[in-house]
């Protein structure tokens, strides 16, 4: 057996790679070789470590030293000082809370997180199945196949209270039960990895960093509902994710964990990848099913629901990546363990991609029930450049805004629902007083107008009308009655659209009107954008201290 005294875990998530992580890794590898340390120091390419803004990142064990923002020319110094002489290179380390040599758990960004779904992300090599197995991977599958009846698996998921992480929060156990109860020989399991919410990348990270956890969850689901085959529907814009999932499938088959007669149990199940072209509507489950069948990606009328007549008109279980990723944990550690995390009706954790005006952006996993304040200020490190928190957009183009007065709201399904927003799939964008709420609403509505598939009239014709009004308001030509018009049109579209896309398209508008009506009014009545974002160009705003606030456009 090969022992390495030092493990250098280099983040190879897509963000870190695009920030130049690959070049750093190559340089590091060259330096290690030229110092003759190749038998002592092992480079491990991991998936996303979460704090993407700090990338390219590397964690060195056994010390647990965290290096950030690495460039190829740093490699020589790290090898010479740290790997050879045991002196961590201070200038490259994450400078956190005055700690001289902080490890991951001492950095506030990581300290408040609870990692179930991302438990392996950034810790194992996603292209090495044995590292997944080392951390108890596929043991849940082994347990299910050797000691549980399919119905017992469904019951365990029901007991856990897990809710779908794709957006709507539907009870996963209930859904599994529906599909399991269908009398049909051919049933399917689909993993929804379309992830169309702009700016969100939770699912991509799981696929890139720990693909086997998804496969394990899907195989367990296949056994529980009695399916013969699974499909992973992933957008073609995720090439690294596709590559790593394909490799994981190959390895799982070679190890006898996927394919025919898994672990000699008599249960057979295989999984294939289907790539989508990146339309937002194809994340909607029935449109997704059409797309897999080779048809136009347009939603179907419901009922029948996929659980009775889905893919190829057969009973189909469709869940989100993160939902499946929770399954091995629940089976391995038990529903009781899972329920201890989170709240009574929203158990477990949720992964968010934290973006916008916070000091530390990145991928976080938090127990449900955590407050927004903790996310923004403890994990995200607060608002940069002395600005103040104005609101958080949660749920992307289908979601709404949480204003500053609700900063202490618990992040769970019911609480968010009570103020007119949704959990969504994990997009979380923080805004400060330089963000214009009308402009944000316009941004998301423009997205839905472009992504509307055109099948039903309210969504196809209604959303452009709302966008027209918003464009008018933000260019200083708003008229009295515009707000009421937006509200009325929005409500009609919500009630009459065929699928969730139209039904939720007006949420960002309605929610910003609810909490920031005064901003709409000053655009319309005073022809002024209070945050100086919109093109009407009033004079730059001054804050309490009389400081000019830089006008920032949303990225």
């Amino acid at each position: 057996m090969k022992i390495f005294r030092t493990h250098a875990l280099v983040c190879s998530g897509a963000q870190c790679l695009s920030a130049g992580g690959n070049n750093f890794k190559d340089a590091l590898s060259a330096e290690i070789n030229s110092a003759g340390l190749q038998d002592e120091v092992q480079i491990v390419e991991t998936g996303c470590m979460g704090s993407c803004e700090m990338g390219p990142m590397m964690v060195v064990y056994p010390e647990g030293t965290v290096y950030i923002k690495l460039v190829p020319s740093d490699a020589a110094e790290i090898v010479k000082e740290h790997f050879l002489k045991g002196r961590p290179v201070k200038r490259l380390m994450w400078n956190a809370s005055g700690k001289e040599f902080p490890t991951l758990s001492e950095i506030p960004f990581f300290a408040k997180q609870t990692k179930l779904v991302l438990r392996n992300c950034g810790i194992i090599n996603p292209e090495n199945i044995e590292e997944y197995i080392a951390n108890d991977g596929y043991l849940a599958l082994g347990k299910v196949l050797t000691s549980m009846k399919p119905q017992e698996v469904v019951d365990e998921i029901k007991k856990s209270g897990l809710r779908g992480r794709g957006g709507a929060g539907f009870l996963t156990g209930l859904k599994w039960g529906y599909v399991a109860s269908q009398q049909s020989g051919d049933k399917y399991v689909i993993c929804n990895a379309d992830e169309g919410d702009p700016g969100a990348y939770m699912d991509r990270s799981v696929l890139e960093s720990d693909p086997h956890t998804l496969l394990e969850g899907m195989i367990i689901a296949g056994y529980a509902v009695g399916a013969i085959k699974g499909y992973i529907y992933v957008r073609a814009e995720y090439p690294l994710a596709v590559k790593r999932v394909a490799l994981a499938l190959k390895h799982a088959r070679a190890f006898g964990l996927l394919g025919s007669n898994i672990l000699n149990s008599g249960f057979s199940f295989d999984i294939a990848i289907r790539m989508g072209a990146g339309a937002f509507v194809c994340g909607e489950e029935t449109a997704l099913i059409n797309s897999i069948e080779g048809k136009r990606g347009e939603p179907r009328k419901k009922p029948p629901y996929p659980s009775t007549a889905g893919l190829f008109d057969k009973p189909t279980l469709i869940n989100n990546v993160e939902t499946f990723a929770n399954v091995p944990v629940i089976i391995h550690k038990g529903a009781q363990f899972f329920k201890k995390i989170g709240t009574a009706t929203s158990p477990g954790t949720k992964v968010f991609s934290l973006a916008g005006k916070v000091n530390t952006t990145g991928l976080i996993e938090v127990p449900l029930g955590i407050t927004l304040r903790e996310i923004v200020f403890d994990i995200g490190g607060g608002i940069p450049e002395g600005h103040s928190f104005k609101g958080a957009l949660i749920g992307g183009p289908s979601g709404g805004v949480v204003p500053a007065e609700h900063l202490d709201i618990a992040i769970d399904y019911e609480s968010l629902d009570s103020i007119g927003t949704i959990m969504g799939s994990g997009g979380l964008i923080i805004m400060d007083e330089t963000s214009c709420m009308v402009d944000i609403a316009k941004f998301f509505l423009k997205f839905t107008v472009e992504e509307s598939c055109g099948k039903c009239t309210p969504c196809r014709e209604g959303t452009p009308q709302m966008l027209k009004i918003l464009q008018r308001i933000t260019s200083g030509e708003g008229m009295p009655g515009d707000i009421e018009n937006l509200e009325r049109t929005g409500r009609i579209i919500s009630r009459t659209s065929l699928c969730g896309l139209g039904q939720s398209a007006s949420n960002p508008v309605l929610s910003t009107i609810r909490f920031f009506k005064n901003e709409y009014e000053s655009h319309i009545n005073e022809k002024k954008c209070p945050s100086s974002v919109c093109d009407m160009k009033p004079k730059a705003m001054e804050n309490k201290n009389g400081k000019k606030i830089r006008v920032r456009k949303i990225a």
């Binding site: 090969k2 030092t6 493990h7 064990y61 056994p62 596929y138 070679a254």
Partner: protein
């Protein structure tokens, strides 16, 4: 790769694979501190370290982490090696590769410090 045929096989594979990841868990029985200051290296600390790794490998012992440190200030005793096991730290001085080999076998793996090489001892 041979297919895994039972839960037992899977668990065996897990146990084997776990060993290779131990360094990342911080959950080990023995910690070896190797003093790698300039003086240490000049006195042969690299050769000592290499011997330790190859001996651990030969004996399949992975319940250990190796931490490189700077000099303790004991330049005359370099290469200096400290072993922490069961809450006690024992420091050896003027370690040669041959001594390192004995230290791995007797102290690191079997828990018997080698008295004649010891220069300091402390409780955690």
């Amino acid at each position: 790769m041979e297919k895994i045929k039972s839960l037992e096989d899977l668990k065996n594979l897990r146990d084997k694979a776990k060993e290779t990841l131990r360094t990342r868990s911080g959950d080990v029985k023995v910690t070896i501190f190797a003093s790698m200051g300039t003086v240490g290296i000049a006195a042969g600390a690299r050769e000592v370290l290499k011997m330790i790794i190859s001996e651990l490998e030969k004996r399949n012992f992975s319940d250990v982490e190796i931490i490189e440190g700077g000099s303790l200030g004991l330049d005359v005793e370099e290469p200096v090696l400290t072993i922490e096991r069961a809450g006690t730290k024992i420091t050896y001085g003027k370690v040669t590769p041959e001594m390192a080999k004995q230290i791995v076998i007797q102290h690191v793996i079997n828990g018997q410090p080698i008295g004649e090489y010891v220069i300091a001892r402390s409780k955690k």
